[in-house]
């Protein structure tokens, strides 16, 4: 736990959960928040191995996920792709630093919207998808 979030290092990267969304209060004297990987940080390529602790101190742990580099020959160590998850208790954000890798985030639930909305819900950069001609539902 890195309150208020919970995280898990998995085969695809770092899974982030806001477990309070699944709070079980059905028992009078028991409270539980279930973990679910709501949003996961990964990249296009597979991981090169399990996550490792890259740094730690009294208030933080940094988990490093080494990524398998595409193509051959292998890149020089200075350009090897990886992502570092800086886990700090009490941080309102989970912070992940990508090095030489493009981010891919996956969610357990599907998207309703992805927007760059302003606070006034203006200036949405969302664009509607082109209709899929194979889908007859789009014609209705």
């Amino acid at each position: 736990m890195v309150v208020p979030y919970a995280v898990s290092a998995g085969a695809a990267g770092l899974a982030v959960s806001y477990p309070a969304d699944r709070r079980d209060t059905s028992e009078a004297f028991r409270l539980s928040d279930a973990f679910s990987g709501d949003v996961s940080f990964g990249s296009d390529g597979p991981l090169a191995g399990p996550a490792a602790v890259a740094a730690h101190d009294a208030l933080s742990v940094t988990l490093r996920f080494a990524l398998a580099a595409p193509g051959t020959p292998a890149p020089a160590p200075a350009t090897a792709p990886f992502l570092d998850a800086v886990l700090v208790k009490g941080a309102p954000f989970v912070t992940v630093m990508y090095s030489h890798a493009w981010p891919v985030l996956t969610t357990a639930s599907q998207f309703a919207r992805v927007t760059g909305l302003s606070l006034a819900q203006e200036a949405s950069g969302e664009s509607d998808p082109a209709p899929d001609p194979k889908c007859s539902a789009n014609a209705g």
Partner: protein
């Protein structure tokens, strides 16, 4: 009075993981849920042949916001295949089709908040995703059913060489409708500075402060801070951290210049998070805690 309703999950593909989580879980529905909402929910489930997993955003809010104007209802009714996948694609007559294929859309972060995206999920969650240095590396977000990719603005299939470093920050936007906007504003305003680690220091409160009592020490949290490299107002924001419940008895607020009460922290911040330790009371920028 809150009721309990078991949520059945019948998904395929990547929805299996959500379904597995949903088995045995409960979504809370409120007694205030109207008959119209119940009818709409049943209609939608009949049309889509799919019950998604909806986690309540808070214990007192509706788990399913299926009012006709809600983003969820619009996503289901208007976007059709865009928000659904696999066997969930409906026809106008109510029959299900095969998979319509993933529909990929793109969005650019707005100029008002460069580098900030909001991910709204069908389970009702809303997340803020902030990226570093949007001026020198403007990004597009491309997404399909459950995957979002950040790519260079205007890039084709070949994305080119990735940057040496790209920092992403993710936060859950909490709060019911009406409260979430203030929480969102606070998170946006504090997204630039992030903690890289830190140390706990202490000093004798009596020796350092005329107001200190014998036997008290002050703990201070000395953070190493990184920045996303934003420009404008957010670029000068101090590091904001969540005030955990056990901090509240002796937390010094920068805005007050003195030790805080829970009411002080509540008044100073709109952001709210919840954890097993209790409800976290907002964001604070100075972490000095007095212990007896």
């Amino acid at each position: 009075m809150l009721g309990k309703r078991r949520v059945m999950c019948t998904g395929t593909g990547n929805r299996k993981s959500a379904g597995a989580l949903c088995v045995g879980a409960f979504a809370e529905t409120s007694a205030e849920e109207t008959k119209a909402s119940r009818r709409l929910r049943k209609t939608l489930q009949a049309i889509t042949h799919c019950s998604h997993c909806f986690a309540p955003s808070s214990s007192s809010s509706l788990a399913l916001d299926l009012r006709p104007s809600s983003p969820l209802a619009l996503a289901l009714l208007l976007h059709r295949c865009a928000g659904l996948g696999g066997d969930c694609c409906p026809t106008a007559g109510g029959a299900t089709l095969g998979c319509c294929g993933a529909s990929t859309r793109s969005a650019s972060p707005s100029s008002a908040h460069p580098g900030a995206l909001f991910l709204e999920l069908l389970n009702g969650q809303r997340w803020l995703l902030a990226a570093s240095d949007p001026d020198s590396l403007p990004l597009d977000a491309r997404w399909d059913d459950g995957t979002v990719r950040l790519v260079p603005q205007g890039a084709g299939a070949d994305l080119g060489a990735p940057p040496p470093q790209l920092v992403l920050r993710l936060a859950r936007v909490t709060g019911a409708v009406g409260e979430a906007a203030a929480s969102e504003a606070e998170l946006l305003g504090s997204r630039d500075a992030f903690p890289l680690g830190g140390e706990v220091g202490w000093r004798d409160a009596v020796a350092s402060s005329a107001g200190g009592d014998a036997g008290e020490v002050e703990l201070s949290f000395a953070w190493r801070v990184g920045r996303l490299g934003l420009t404008g107002g957010a670029s000068t924001s101090p590091l904001a951290m969540v005030a955990l419940p056990h901090h509240l008895d002796g937390l010094r607020l920068a805005s007050k210049g003195a030790f805080a009460t829970a009411a002080d922290v509540t008044a100073a911040s709109s952001a709210r998070f919840s954890c097993l330790k209790g409800t976290d009371l907002g964001l604070v920028t100075v972490m000095v805690e007095r212990l007896p």
